[in-house]
């Protein structure tokens, strides 16, 4: 990476120098030779300078002695020449500069995608740690298998729906093979509904840029899928989980992903309806986390609470997880992976305002920090203990909330957003459990659903209008600016996005899973649930060498 950056900088300097020389030379000679012959390009002063630079570059014999300081490696000799006899020319340098920009962005996006992929391990540890030991293998396996289910579904269908019409990203070379969006003309405007190219990554989508965006978007999609496994843990039938995960990866997630990120109608609210810069969700508080959290709520309602969770009077019993160390280590892994999630969503480190990646990374860190503080102080002050699992949830809540605004807000605003998220997750967990009577063993609905929606809303409030990614966002000139910085219309766009998440995405997930409940059933049998899902569903215990004893006083509504 460092090497590529060095080469890129060198090439940019060289290109700028050569271009300056060329322009100056052209100005001096324009009057005398108004119609210069094409061959003049090959003999321009700039080319002469390039030849001179090539002559001064270290010789092979110098390089053979080694380059411990790194000052000899990476010179004009490393720029490929189209015509070896003519040597390196200005067009060669220009092409190399362009390729270096794309290479930097490819590497950045891929590495960030790898970080996001590693978040699956964090989710597995958090979710399993918060479940009882008798269900450890089942919970780990859901987190493991959801990666496969989601990836396969996204490859055959999901990617085409989400990104099939997303051509035009100059960071990744234009992505021109993805230029087929199914649209609907309504009220004199054209609105994108879903993409239509990229099935199986075959045909003209067998393209280097398409592969990069596929990998990056795929790991985001899998993050959304794995949110549901935590909320429905300890009573979800593995077969139904597998089928619904495939459907979510193929349809539910990609559809909203297209509307927000793939040239769909939400992203067009700016150009078509004059609402700010359209719906803005920088890294996916809405697209990833709210979609996952709301789907988790839909499935949780259908699958019902665990046996023993609620008493006859409706009061809730705490069911303690088996491994708080796994939970907290998992949270750290997730926080690490979030550095791929948010800064990676620039889809590049070179050009178009992408140097803001440092700001985005710092905003991410700070929101996680204040999210943890908010949750710990809330629990400590109100409940008497700095609860470990809620502290972890506070960290994740801050990270979830900053995901959408991370590209548009200052460090101070990131702190405020994270702090609110940390308190919000505690209140939301209590609400979901005590008012809705919904059993969410890991707090996924609150962490990802509630705070995902808060993150989307916070863009409409806190975006400060300083982030100028190439001069426009979603096709609207200018920077994303929220209500507190003077643009109420951006808040309107964000609220429309929230309404779509709550009203459409939730309903779609609910109906799909209601159909699966009819055909397959979501819940394991009572015998399986009481005895633990590991043996009946997975065939082996998560911790076979540990000794089990009868549970002394497990509340079960007696």
């Amino acid at each position: 990476m460092k090497k590529i950056l060095q080469r890129s900088c060198f090439s940019l300097c060289l290109f700028a120098f050569a271009l300056g020389l060329s322009v100056a030379a052209h100005a001096q000679t324009a009057a005398a030779t108004p119609a210069a012959a094409p061959s003049a390009v090959a003999t321009s002063p700039a080319d002469a300078e390039l030849k001179d630079a090539a002559g001064k570059a270290p010789a092979t014999a110098d390089l053979a002695k080694g380059d411990p300081g790194g000052s000899l490696t990476g010179t004009i000799n490393d720029v490929p020449a189209a015509d070896s006899k003519a040597g390196v020319t200005l067009p060669d340098v220009a092409n190399q500069v362009g390729q270096n920009k794309i290479a930097v962005n490819f590497v950045w996006t891929l590495v960030c995608g790898f970080l996001v992929m590693f978040m699956q391990a964090g989710f597995a540890m958090v979710e399993s740690g918060l479940c009882r030991v008798k269900n450890a293998n089942h919970t780990y396996m859901m987190n493991f298998f959801v990666y496969t289910c989601g990836l396969f579904a996204y490859w055959i269908l999901g990617f085409a729906i989400q990104m099939g019409g997303a051509a035009g990203n100059s960071n990744l070379g234009g992505l021109q093979p993805l230029a087929s969006e199914h649209t609907l003309s309504l009220f004199g405007k054209t609105w994108g509904l879903f993409g239509q190219s990229g099935y199986f990554l075959a045909g003209h989508t067998y393209d280097v840029g398409v592969m990069v965006i596929f990998l990056f978007e795929m790991v985001f999609m899998d993050t959304a899928l794995t949110i549901v496994t935590g909320a429905c843990a300890e009573r979800w039938k593995f077969a139904t989980f597998a089928v619904t995960s495939v459907i979510m990866g193929a349809i539910t997630y990609p559809l909203f992903g297209n509307w927000a990120w793939g040239a769909g109608w939400l992203s067009q609210l700016g150009t078509n309806a004059g609402l700010g810069k359209g719906y803005c969700d920088f890294a996916g508080s809405g697209v990833v986390h709210a979609v996952g959290g709301l789907t988790a709520l839909a499935v949780c309602l259908i699958v019902g609470p665990r046996i023993g969770k609620f008493n006859r009077d409706g009061s809730a019993n705490p069911i303690i997880g088996h491994d708080i160390s796994a939970v907290l280590i998992g949270c750290f892994i997730l926080a690490f992976g979030w550095f791929g999630f948010n800064p990676g969503s620039t889809l590049g480190a070179s050009a178009n305002g992408n140097l803001r990646i440092g700001t985005i990374a710092v905003a991410t860190m700070l929101a996680g920090c204040t999210g943890t503080l908010g949750a710990i102080i809330y629990m400590w002050a109100l409940k008497g203990k700095p609860d470990a699992s809620m502290s972890g949830n506070g960290l994740l809540a801050g990270l979830v909330a900053i995901t959408a605004p991370s590209g548009f807000v200052s460090a101070t605003n990131a702190c405020i957003i994270g702090l609110i998220a940390g308190v919000l997750v505690c209140i939301s967990c209590a609400f979901v459990e005590n008012v809705l009577k919904v059993d969410d063993p890991v707090g996924a609905i609150s962490v990802h659903g509630t705070n995902g929606l808060w993150g989307v809303l916070s863009v409409g409030l806190f975006a400060d209008g300083t982030s100028n990614y190439g001069g426009s966002w979603n096709g609207v000139t200018g920077s994303v600016t929220g209500l507190f910085y003077g643009d109420a219309s951006q808040l309107a766009a964000q609220l429309i996005g929230i309404s779509t998440l709550i009203g459409f995405v939730f309903t779609l997930s609910f109906v799909i899973n209601l159909v699966l409940e009819y055909f397959m059933g979501h819940r394991v049998s009572i015998e399986t649930e009481v005895g633990g899902l590991d043996i009946p569903e997975m065939g082996q215990l998560g911790y076979p060498e540990f000794v089990f004893r009868p549970e002394p006083a497990m509340p079960s509504g007696d």
Binding site: K134, V246, G304, L495, G503, S525, E527, G531
Partner: protein, 149 residues
């Protein structure tokens, strides 16, 4: 009956059916594409009916049937809120007006999700009736972990 061979087979059939279905989408313009679409749909539907065939063998779950009608009403109200928000985009051009419509839409959707649906699912919830342990007589089977010492 927990996880079993039939479940695995039907999941395989579901994946194959879905893959063929998507191939049909990809090549929908051709006759082959349309044939694949039909074939894939049959595979997916066949797998779902296969699952339904073995559903009754999988034992009693800790759930009682809720109010089916209310569940659909809850979902419909949630969707209605979204449609109200969409209508607001067309009805008014002002940002303030659209914010009001969006907030109204969100409120309506939340009534469906946070009030109607939980009420529908909790109406006959197991925990409201006899205790799970009384129902199954399986308290002794509840286990937890103790580290080996």
């Amino acid at each position: 009956m927990a996880a079993n061979k039939q479940q695995g087979s039907y999941f395989g059939l579901f994946l194959v059916g879905l893959t063929v279905l998507c191939a049909g989408f990809a090549y929908f313009d051709s006759a082959t594409g349309k044939a694949l679409l039909v074939l894939g749909a049959l595979g997916v539907i066949g797998s779902l009916f296969g699952y339904m065939g073995i559903k009754s063998l999988e034992g009693m779950t800790a759930m009682k049937p809720g109010s089916g009608g209310m569940k659909l009403v809850g979902a419909a109200v949630a969707l209605l809120g979204w449609l109200l928000t969409l209508a607001g985009i067309h009805i008014t051009d002002s940002a303030g007006g659209r914010i009001v419509f969006a907030l109204l839409g969100i409120a309506v959707s939340l009534v469906g999700i946070l009030y109607i649906l939980p009420a529908a699912f909790n109406k006959n919830a197991l925990w409201k009736g006899e205790s799970a342990s009384q129902r199954t007589g399986m308290t002794a089977a509840k286990t937890t972990m103790e580290h080996s010492r």
